[in-house]
């Protein structure tokens, strides 16, 4: 449980970073993030998994190391929560959007983002979702959340987002 909690905080911190960048719109509003950070030590990790089943889990992004497409151990719980949600909501559908940082060619990064999305889809299916509930696509490096040439930006852009359809 502790691990899951840590990963959620980490992701939240990354999302918080993203919200500081002027150009790109951030999907999760900053107040929600700070709230999670503040309350998390008291009630760890269970919130996203065991809240109302009808609601899609709040955490919707997973992050990857450079040129890696496997879902990281720290992020598995996020994907599993979505798999669980999809298995309990047969009508729900999601789109997994893969992204990559700019270090590579645009086409290589498109393929890398696609592979990241595919791996998230595989884990969703292992967690109970049906393949027909999941569409995958990649933006490659074309839609960076953060546009600077540094690791703090790149780490936000190496990402797969689970988006409700």
């Amino acid at each position: 449980m502790k691990k899951i909690f840590l990963s959620i905080v980490l992701v939240n911190l990354l999302a918080a970073c993203a919200s500081e960048t002027p150009k790109e719109a951030v999907e999760e509003p900053t107040p929600a993030v700070t709230e999670t950070e503040a309350t998390a030590p008291v009630e760890p990790a269970q919130a996203p998994v065991e809240t109302v089943e009808a609601a899609m889990p709040e955490e919707r992004s997973v992050y990857f190391p450079f040129d890696v497409d496997a879902v990281q151990a720290a992020d598995r719980a996020i994907v599993q929560a979505h798999g669980d949600y999809l298995s309990k909501n047969a009508d729900a559908k999601v789109r997994v959007e893969g992204n990559a940082d700019e270090r590579g060619s645009s086409e290589y990064n498109l393929a890398l983002g696609q592979r990241r999305a595919n791996n998230v889809k595989k884990l969703l299916i292992l967690s109970g979702a049906q393949a027909s509930q999941i569409e995958t696509m990649s933006f490659g490096e074309e839609k960076p959340r953060c546009a600077e040439h540094n690791e703090s930006c790149w780490s936000q852009n190496r990402r797969a987002d689970i988006v409700a359809k």
């Binding site: 700019e102 590579g104 060619s105 645009s106 086409e107 290589y108 498109l110 696609q114 592979r115 595919n118």
Partner: protein, 419 residues
């Protein structure tokens, strides 16, 4: 003639319609001293003088040293007093006039000032709104006569301009003038590719929610969907005979190479497996493809027969290598070479496998050869903006073209057009 250290010229475009500012560094080893005299009749024409289009074209190559005529203004060979042009090896003179049907005609002569003979003399005509096209054509003929290689001033380039959330697919003259927007979207556009006849562009757009490959006619603007399978449909490139395209589909899981006819039919898979295979580019004989793959652990360049089979790894230097494109003579390929966080443009000889880095490094991506093989066009960055740049294929002369708005990405040089 000596190697001239480093000349920096700033040609701020004179015309109000200029989209790019051009900066040149370096010079060819043997610069040809040429003087271009303002053509007779130019003062009556609207727009940029044809002779200055010619001068700018020649200067941008780094292969010529432009010498000011210093007030002398011959327009016929009989007007030329050869002793008045010391140090000038070639002299371009001519006349412009309006002819039947609103067309403009340029009659020009290129003189060899050392042998005191005429090298060539021709008449070029075009519609009056195409004065720049005439200038490029004259420059092509002068370049060919003096260097032995065909000029590329009349050819076109394609690229993507990203300005905020707007993406435009643009076709422009090789000097960046005459921008035409083929497609404008609030979704990404990637990977334009010219058909060998220069009449169509294939490209990738996200307007359908994911990477879809289209083929569009430049003349009619009509387009077809070449591939729209689930996942990514991308990296289109034409075969040398123009009959089919290679592209990348992820419909079967990982990204693999396929070929398809120009109408989207006869889809054939070339590569298999879980690795990323992308950025196909046909070799000159059309029988095999270069491509980028991470099958060996890092992105490297490989060659595979078009019908599939064993893929041979070609690049071994640097951390990774991307975006291979074959030279027009088929002897080299150019690519983006990634070392310690920096992208360089490099060429490699197919025969001896020697790699040569052509540029100083930066965010240098997507190189392509000019159709005469003498220049390489690529995307780079300057002061935080995506720009176009060229480097001569020997690495000596470099040129940057800065757009007035937005970031320029994904450039590709078009083919020679049939006259």
């Amino acid at each position: 003639m000596r190697f001239v250290g480093a000349i920096v010229l700033l040609l701020v475009a004179c015309s109000a319609r200029a989209e790019l500012t051009i900066e040149i560094t370096g010079a060819g080893e043997h610069q040809i001293p040429i003087s271009v005299v303002r053509f007779a009749g130019e003062e009556t024409m609207v727009g940029q003088a044809i002779s200055s289009v010619v001068s700018n074209d020649l200067m941008r190559t780094g292969l010529f040293k432009l010498i000011d005529p210093a007030g002398k203004a011959p327009h016929e060979p009989g007007d030329v007093n050869y002793v008045e042009w010391p140090g000038v090896e070639a002299l371009l003179i001519g006349k412009v006039r309006t002819v039947e049907g609103g067309r403009v005609e340029v009659r020009f002569r290129l003189l060899d000032m050392v042998r005191q003979t005429e090298l060539t003399g021709l008449a070029v005509t075009a519609k009056s709104e195409q004065l720049r096209a005439i200038g490029h054509r004259v420059a092509d003929l002068v370049y060919e006569k003096l260097t032995g290689s065909a000029g590329v001033f009349s050819t076109r380039i394609a690229y993507v301009n990203r300005d905020g959330k707007q993406y435009r697919l643009v076709v422009a003259d090789s000097d960046g003038y005459g921008e035409q927007t083929l497609l404008a979207l609030n979704q990404p556009i990637m990977s334009p590719a010219w058909s060998p006849d220069g009449k169509q562009l294939a490209y990738v757009s996200f307007e359908r929610g994911h990477a879809t490959t289209f083929v569009q006619s430049l003349a009619t603007r009509q387009r077809i969907v070449l591939a729209d399978f689930p996942g990514s449909n991308s990296a289109p490139t034409w075969s040398p005979d123009g009959k089919k395209l290679a592209l990348v589909l992820s419909r079967d899981g990982s990204s693999n190479l396929y070929t398809v006819n120009g109408d989207g039919k006869n889809l054939r898979r070339i590569t298999f497996g879980d690795s990323i295979d992308t950025e196909p580019n046909f070799l000159s004989d059309g029988k095999s493809l270069l491509f980028t793959s991470d099958r060996g652990g890092s992105a490297q360049i490989y060659r595979v027969p078009v019908e599939g089979g064993y893929a041979e790894r070609l690049t071994f230097e640097g951390n990774s290598n991307f975006s291979p494109r074959v030279s027009p003579d088929g002897k080299y390929f150019v690519f983006s070479h990634f070392v310690d966080g920096v992208f360089y443009i490099a060429v490699q000889d197919f025969e001896n496998k020697q790699m040569q880095v052509l540029t100083g490094g930066g965010w240098e991506k997507k190189p392509s050869f000019a159709p005469n093989g003498k220049l390489v066009l690529f995307a780079t960055e300057s002061q935080g903006r995506g720009i176009l740049a060229t480097v001569s294929s020997d690495g000596r002369v470099k040129q940057k073209m800065v757009a007035q708005r937005g970031d320029i990405r994904e450039p590709i040089w078009g083919p020679f057009l049939k006259q």
